[in-house]
Symmetry: C2
Subunit: 172 residues, 2 copies
DNA sequence: CCTATTTGATATGGTGCATAACAATTATCG
DNA sequence: CGATAATTGTTATGCACCATATCAAATAGG
């Protein structure tokens, strides 16, 4: 996934600027974010990038991306569904879901089975290894990732944040 | 930017499922989101996609992407800076910033000028057209986009949301 | 002056996301 | 029933975004 050095690029990183010798204040080369700080979309994207970056790192022992984790979660909660159903509820287009499943299946985490009632569709099932990996990933997410997040914001604020984000996705 | 039908793909869209005749409840083909609903990262991404989609639509009359808008905002607030400075404060890598500037400059919104003191760097300045476009974009964002968002969440909640997102990006 | 660093730029590759098109299968309906 | 339409998984393809390596020109620093 090349999660390598995403952080370096995102870090605002006060750039080295040629300081005119008569620089009045000490810290004058900081760029003004201006009205950018008020833009909710900007804050959303920045926070999302950071959270995903931390997710990757937290769950690194099981080598799962956020998208892959969400697929495993959904397969576990909804066994016996086909690709179209899983993909669309996750907002993934069917063509793009194929490669994702290939990756998970090749790692032995899930399995495609032809449905006897409709031989077009593939019934998706988690394997034992898939369930084990998911369980381990859940623990990593809870303890390393979400715990630190709720600690940063406070439990109540964290819940309120989640509720607002869900509301935006649902009703905006 | 092909903002076309992103919505269609995201819409959960209860998929057509072959209903066993003896389906007990009426609404049984809804997929269980399960613990996905508790995942802050998932909610973040979904909300971010929706907000960006709405931004695109709201600001369509001036044909600016969120990234382009943020560049114009920063150029307006920090005149006389070079590409490296603007790019890094926005979290954009210098190589990728070149094409972005090409697009804006070819539309006559900003201008590159060789610095007399350092002939390597390009001083970036908004043109009059750029300032006018930015002003128009600001109004569109404020009235069509942010207004509806704060209306949905409530003024206080909206401010709290912004604060939390900024905190995540900064301190997480 | 010689070397190291910086700046903008190019080339390139990976990844996510969207559309069109296709074969196999199933549904629909005259 | 049989012709046509719709669905499922799949492939191919293109665009946007992001990251790295590399380069020439210019500057900085010893």
């Amino acid at each position: 996934m090349t999660a390598s050095k995403t952080a370096a690029a995102v870090k605002p990183a006060r750039a080295a600027r040629k300081e005119p010798p008569a620089e009045t204040a000490a810290e004058a080369s900081e760029l003004m974010m201006g009205e950018l700080s008020e833009l909710l979309g900007y804050a959303l994207k920045r926070a999302q990038l950071r959270v995903f970056e931390d997710f990757l790192q937290s769950v690194a022992p099981v080598q799962l991306t956020p998208a892959q984790f969400s697929v495993l979660l959904l397969l576990d909660a909804n066994p016996g569904r086909n690709q179209t159903e899983i993909a669309t509820t996750l907002g993934i287009l069917r063509p793009n879901f194929v490669a994702m499943l290939d990756a998970l299946e090749s790692r032995g985490l899930c399995q495609r089975t032809r449905s006897p009632s409709d031989r077009r569709s593939h019934i998706l099932v988690l394997t034992d290894k898939g369930r084990a990996t998911l369980a381990r990933a859940k623990k990593l997410v809870a303890t390393r990732h979400e715990a630190r997040l709720t600690e940063l914001l406070g439990r109540d604020n964290s819940a309120a944040l989640l509720a607002m984000l869900a509301k935006i996705a649902r009703e905006f």
